[in-house]
Symmetry: C2
Subunit: 167 residues, 2 copies
Amino acid sequence: EQPIIAGVAHDRSEAKITVVGVPDTPGTAAQIFEAVAEAEINIDMIVQNVSVAASGRTDVSFTLPKAEGQTAVAALDRVKAAIGFERLEYDDQIGKVSLIGVGMRSHPGVSAKFFKALGERKINMEMISTSEIRISVVTRADELDDAVRAVHSAFELDGEAEATVYG
Amino acid sequence: EQPIIAGVAHDRSEAKITVVGVPDTPGTAAQIFEAVAEAEINIDMIVQNVSVAASGRTDVSFTLPKAEGQTAVAALDRVKAAIGFERLEYDDQIGKVSLIGVGMRSHPGVSAKFFKALGERKINMEMISTSEIRISVVTRADELDDAVRAVHSAFELDGEAEATVYG
Ligand SMILES: C[C@@H](O)[C@H](N)C(=O)O
Ligand SMILES: C[C@@H](O)[C@H](N)C(=O)O
């Protein structure tokens, strides 16, 4: 049956932190997020891919409210030696666009269509995180409006009110 | 208020493909997933982090049913030259464990607790993907049962039936 596309959400209130070169061994991500939690910082998406290089390291990125960016950077700086990561990257010029739906896992064409809509507008996807009910992409903040229009158009959602979504 | 933890889900039916060294320019991810969709392969989670090195490349990973692994690898091999990625990594020994809840964004301690539960048992988290309602981690398949027990215990979900979750 057809997947159900509920709507498109977008967010320009967030910043992104990438903890670069995290030792890919048990416990390091826990240390990162314990430091962030201790600073009482709200976290939205966390993305970590596999370590592929012989480095034995990987990168851990997360998004958070811009207003909490510097607090988070400071909290992570304090545990840098303990964790052993290489450096932090802070980026407050991101936008996030998400397609919300149901049953998207059994419809791989939905992700392809979403990505193609952005690719055709030359909008680069800097981070991707998906589940069965949500496809989320991080773009440049100044490309976000264009990205939202592109997705609305590709899925023929033009004119629809934006979905208020949770999660 | 407290976040609501609905339950823990786990899955050992999946394999993981990492497309390594994908040019981080508009359109490449679309090409990857168009090839996969054309082969009618169901995709579960997609994870892509930022490109940090001066390489201008990043890695794109996704999980899928083990039975479809070779078909997906073949489909991607066919578009390797067109996309320009470096290589593919195929891994059919993964497990996926997820914490399902509500309102986890405003409770950063939930992710930290989940990660700590695994770290303390020396279970390595190979991939992480989270949203406000779901924290998903990829582990070795032979560590999955231990991971599930660790999370149940940390969140005092012992004895509860496993949540049937969608998304
Ligand atoms: C990189 C980080 O996720 C590490 N693999 C851990 O388990 O904590
Ligand atoms: C790597 C891939 O996601 C690329 N940035 C794209 O937009 O397609």
